[in-house]
């Protein structure tokens, strides 16, 4: 399963939004990755996500695979929207 988001928070995926995302997906059993500019990282890895250096206005793909993939992606959407991190495309 895959969803695409546009990151709109002014500083891109900095520590606060990254922390929120990583913390939100970690409890799920499914594997989850984020792809940005042809690079794919584990969304449960804060260093991986920060290392992508996602800037404001960029589009990222988030893919989940596993038993609770749908719930996981719903949670991602909720966290991204309710914290003003970005929007679903």
């Amino acid at each position: 399963m895959k969803k695409t988001y546009k990151i709109t928070s002014s500083e891109g995926l900095h520590a606060r939004p990254t922390t929120l995302l990583v913390t939100a997906v970690t409890p799920f059993a499914s594997e989850v990755t984020m792809t940005y500019k042809d690079k794919t990282v584990n969304l449960k890895s804060i260093m991986g996500v920060m290392a992508l250096g996602v800037a404001s206005g960029s589009v990222v793909d988030i893919s989940a695979e596993g038993p609770d993939a749908k719930e996981l992606l719903d949670k991602v959407t909720e966290v991204i929207i309710s914290n003003g991190i970005g929007e679903e495309c």
Binding site: V22, T26, K44, I46, M47, G48, M50, G53
Partner: protein, 570 residues
């Protein structure tokens, strides 16, 4: 019971448990391992211990400093739980390396990656990775690392030395005093101890070796004595002494609201030195007539990037408002020497005290300087601001610095931003060349402020941090007395006032001489203000002037000190 002696640098008596700050030895061997599973378990255990420790640190920081300061530790916890990092380390263990090496290799890879990113914010994350991996490494090696934020009971810090940034983190609620192996009366940690009003003893040489973690320690900041595991008799003696010095302090109270005036009616200003905006409270509590030195470099320290204009503006405005119109002398950035900003990436110098620092750096890196000047100018309308430039050696430097200030002022006026019309612009006299031609400077500067700590070090060519030559730190050296005399006379000839913001200004022996020489402003650490006011109230300036000629014929610092003690101390 064990006694040590050091240099007493900040008065008071403290009794508390020793908290030894030891740079942990985290060295290890790179070795091959055969039992891969056992090595992985060792790694996981170290991670687990680091995690519980960090949770504890976070909770303490949260209680003590609030959520914002604690957030850094939450971020560290998240790094610690990063599955990719753990996998990468485990992959290296699978290759047959020991956990320490696998950890270091992996964290170095992340550190290099963050440092290479073209984004200041991300570059800072390298420090977080380093911090977290050091914590895990310490558990792998079974070495304890120290952590100021975990202090939650009364302690006396014992350290080889305290850097200015470490000292600034000290929380007075729990830190009752400190003892260091190295340093002298004018080292920055000593000055800060006086600002914080906690007793401190420096230069004990062996404190970190002799004092046992957690042992009961007594320090007497007036004699320089350190006593570990005192007998009950000795302990009671010091508790009694502590009570007495508190009583003396109360006696000084009456001078708090009095004017600074000599017995024969000569008025002077007794001001305070501060390093951070919150230090203003101490100056006000001690009845200071103003601020004679606001060291602005502390705004630049303990951080990863330069403070912006807005941040600086807020700090200056806070200080000026709190001083309610009393004179407030702000010294522009004095970085370099022993005060280094890692983010400025200055080249290592053989002689930093004779090198690229203070106004020299500011005139070269004008962006930094202009930002500070703008912030100061904007804050000027909130009080009685006076600006001075540090480390001026030539007239050109003073003219250029002043011209930049006027340029920024003009820009602000054109932008419609209000700026005070009565800002005095002066300079520090701390380089002998400036002292010798003070008459030329006095024509162009609104005031001169003598920085004795550097003036003494430069005049006697003696590094003030070098204990082997500490005997050369001589405030009463006839050369210093002559220089100070000539600076004051030169300034007065041109109708300008002279201040002194070095340690000498609050020195019991120097005060009668300075008063006789006509010094207008004495600026010192807050706890010295009331003592100085009380001393000056008992001295008659005209009587002191009668001794001047005699003092100027004395040939050594010892003779000067002996003379003052014999005739001028009341």
């Amino acid at each position: 019971m064990l006694e040590l002696n050091g240099i007493a640098v900040s008065n008071g008596i403290a009794v508390a448990k020793a908290y030894c700050l030891i740079e942990p030895d985290l060295s290890f061997e790179k070795v091959r391992v055969t039992d891969i599973d056992a090595e992985k378990i060792r790694l996981k255990e170290a991670f687990q211990k680091a995690k519980s420790e960090l949770e504890e640190v976070r909770d303490i920081a949260d209680r003590k400093f609030g959520e914002e300061k604690a957030a850094i530790f939450s971020a560290h916890l998240l790094l610690l739980g990063d599955p990719e990092m753990l996998e990468a380390i485990e992959a290296k263990i699978d290759d047959g390396w020991n956990a320490e090496f696998a950890l270091q290799e992996t964290s170095n890879m992340y550190i290099e990656m963050f440092e290479a990113m073209d984004n200041e914010y991300m570059q800072e994350r390298a420090a977080d990775v380093r911090d977290v991996s050091t914590r895990v490494l310490s558990h792998l090696l079974g070495v304890e690392i120290t952590d100021f934020s975990r202090i939650s009971t009364d302690v006396i810090i014992v350290a080889e030395d305290l850097t200015p940034s470490l000292t600034a983190q000290l929380d007075k609620t729990f830190v009752k005093g400190f003892i260091t192996d190295i340093g002298g009366r004018t080292s920055h940690s000593a000055i800060l101890a006086r600002t914080m009003e906690i007793p401190a003893i420096v230069g004990t040489k062996t404190a970190t070796r002799d004092i046992v973690q957690g042992a009961q320690v007594i320090i007497d900041g007036s004699t320089g004595k350190v006593i570990m595991n005192a007998t009950e008799e000795v302990l009671n003696e010091y508790l009694e002494k502590q009570k007495k010095s508190e009583e003396e302090r109360q006696l000084l109270e009456k001078y708090r609201s009095l004017e600074s005036v000599s017995a024969d009616g000569h008025h002077v200003e007794i001001a305070g030195n501060i390093g951070k905006p919150e230090d203003v409270e101490l100056i006000i509590e001690n009845g200071g007539d103003g601020i004679g030195l606001f060291r602005t470099e502390f705004l630049y320290m303990d951080r990863q990037e330069l403070p912006n204009e807005e941040e600086q503006f807020t700090a200056y405005k806070t200080v000026l408002e709190k001083m309610q119109g009393k004179p407030t002398v702000v010294r522009t950035l004095d970085i370099g020497g022993d005060k280094i900003l890692p983010y400025l990436k200055l080249e290592h110098e053989m002689n930093p005290f004779l090198g690229y620092r203070a106004v020299r750096l500011c005139l070269d890196q004008q962006d930094i300087f202009r930002t500070q000047l703008r912030a100061l100018l904007r804050a000027s309308i909130y009080g009685n601001l006076k600006v001075m430039f540090p480390m001026i050696a030539t007239l050109e430097e003073f003219r250029e610095a002043k011209a930049l200030l006027l340029e920024e002022k003009q820009k602000l006026i054109e932008e419609g931003i209000p700026v005070s019309e009565s800002i005095e612009v002066g300079m520090m006299v701390e380089i002998p060349s400036a002292a010798v031609i003070a008459d030329l400077f006095a024509k162009e500067a609104d005031f001169l402020s003598i920085g004795t700590n550097d003036l003494i070090q430069y005049t006697l060519a003696a590094d003030r941090m070098n204990e082997k030559i500490s005997y050369l730190y001589q405030p009463y050296h006839p050369a210093i007395i002559r220089l100070v005399k000539s600076v004051i006379e030169s300034a007065h000839q041109h109708g300008k006032w002279v201040g002194m913001c070095g340690e000498m200004a609050g020195d019991e022996i120097a005060i009668p001489i300075l008063l006789a020489l006509g010094l207008d402003e004495f600026s010192m650490s807050a706890p010295s203000i009331l003592n100085t006011r009380a001393q000056i109230a008992k001295l008659s300036k005209s009587e002191l002037v009668g001794h001047l000629e005699q003092i100027c014929t004395l040939t050594t610092a010892n003779e000067v000190e002996g003379y003052v003690k014999k005739y001028l101390l009341k």
